[in-house]
Amino acid sequence: MSQPNNPPPKVTLEDLLRLKRHERPGPEYWERFDRELRGGMLRAFVTPEPWAWRWTRRVVARATPWMTAGAAAGLVMAFAMHSRLSLPMAEHRLPAPAAMEEMTAPVKLAANDATADKALLNTTTAAGSLENVGDARTKDVVAVLAESSQPTTDPKVSALTTLPGKPADDVRYAADTLENVAMLSRGSGMAY
């Protein structure tokens, strides 16, 4: 019975690359190398560096701390200028202060409007009780409301007509004027 032959060992990439270690010059090469290198080093030792190179190195060595400080100062100035310039631009984007005040100021109702406002807050109030409202715009709304004798059950409308703050306050905000309620009710064709 014959013994099975051992498979030949596998050649790896590392084995192949290790062969490159055998590529090396002989001793006679190193004699020449040393001679040439000594000559080169002597030349490098004797030959002074070019004046431009020396001058540049000296200038750079002296100027480096100043350049760093200057760059830092420049950055600070740029940042300061930017923030100073950008501030008026931001102001321009906003409406004039007077207009802002007008837009955000609460609307003061007349003393006799308080009843009407309370009535409007409660959408289930009968239209008939709103007749004593004096303001012209409010009258329009009242007229619209009067067209409908049915109380609203729509939660959206209820939400719109609910004003912030205490219901008893005689203050309401321009953003939630009753005009919006009227327009909504007209636009959606809701029976109000």
């Binding site: 030949p8 050649v11 590529e23 010059p25 080169g40």
Partner: protein, 210 residues
């Protein structure tokens, strides 16, 4: 201060034999810095063959390798006064040589002229060559020449960064950490470059890898 840097230098050197060599190198460097030029001769004798091998394997041109190795030693000699010992001397010297080689290769990207170095006699006794000669039924001397050509061709097909990593790791036997110091990159980068380079070489040399 010098002792502090010497300790730091020893710490960054991974292998114990390298640590001992680094200590010796640092002593020689200090002698050169104080004006003893003969101490630099000892450093040249110690590192010339390794430096030449690195540059030769990067360029695959013996004349260029000779010039660049000399250039690296001259540069090192000129700037040895600035060497503070933060890294080991051989890492610093290897970096000078690798940078010189890479700059040369970038400048002469279009000029590709190979001139191979002689192979020593020991190669004919290697097991790999025996196996390959038996498998291909080829004469050893023919196979050696063919392999030398193919290996150099394959290395030259790699990018400069990948080639450098392969040369330093597989041929020169440097650790990942040492290569990272020479190439001024992270160990992870060295590993990934090595992995990619090996994949490329596997495909170029697949005829021999069975």
């Amino acid at each position: 201060m010098a002792e502090f840097f010497a300790k730091a230098k020893t710490m960054v050197t991974t292998r114990p034999e390298h640590a001992a060599a680094a200590e010796l190198d640092w002593a020689l460097v200090q002698r050169v810095q104080t004006g003893d030029v003969r101490a630099f001769d000892q450093l040249i004798t110690k590192y010339r063959e390794r430096l030449f091998a690195i540059v030769y394997n990067l360029t695959s041109n013996r004349e260029d390798a000779s010039d660049l190795t000399q250039e690296a030693f001259i540069k090192a000699f000129r700037s040895i006064g600035y060497f503070k010992g933060q890294s080991s001397f051989f890492t610093w010297l290897y970096r000078i040589a690798v940078n010189a080689a890479l700059t040369h290769l970038k400048r002469n990207r279009l000029r590709k002229f190979f001139s191979f170095e002689n192979l020593d006699q020991e190669i004919s006794q290697t097991e790999v060559l025996e196996v390959l000669a038996e498998r291909t039924q080829t004469d050893k001397s023919t196979l050696v020449n063919e392999l030398q050509e193919k290996l150099n061709e394959a290395l030259q097909r790699l990018s400069l960064k990948h080639r450098t990593v392969v040369v330093l790791f597989e041929i020169e036997g440097l650790s990942h950490q040492e290569i990272a110091q020479v190439m001024d990159c992270s160990e992870g980068t060295v590993r990934s470059r090595l992995h990619y380079a090996k994949q490329q070489l596997q495909s170029y040399l697949q005829d021999y890898l069975r």
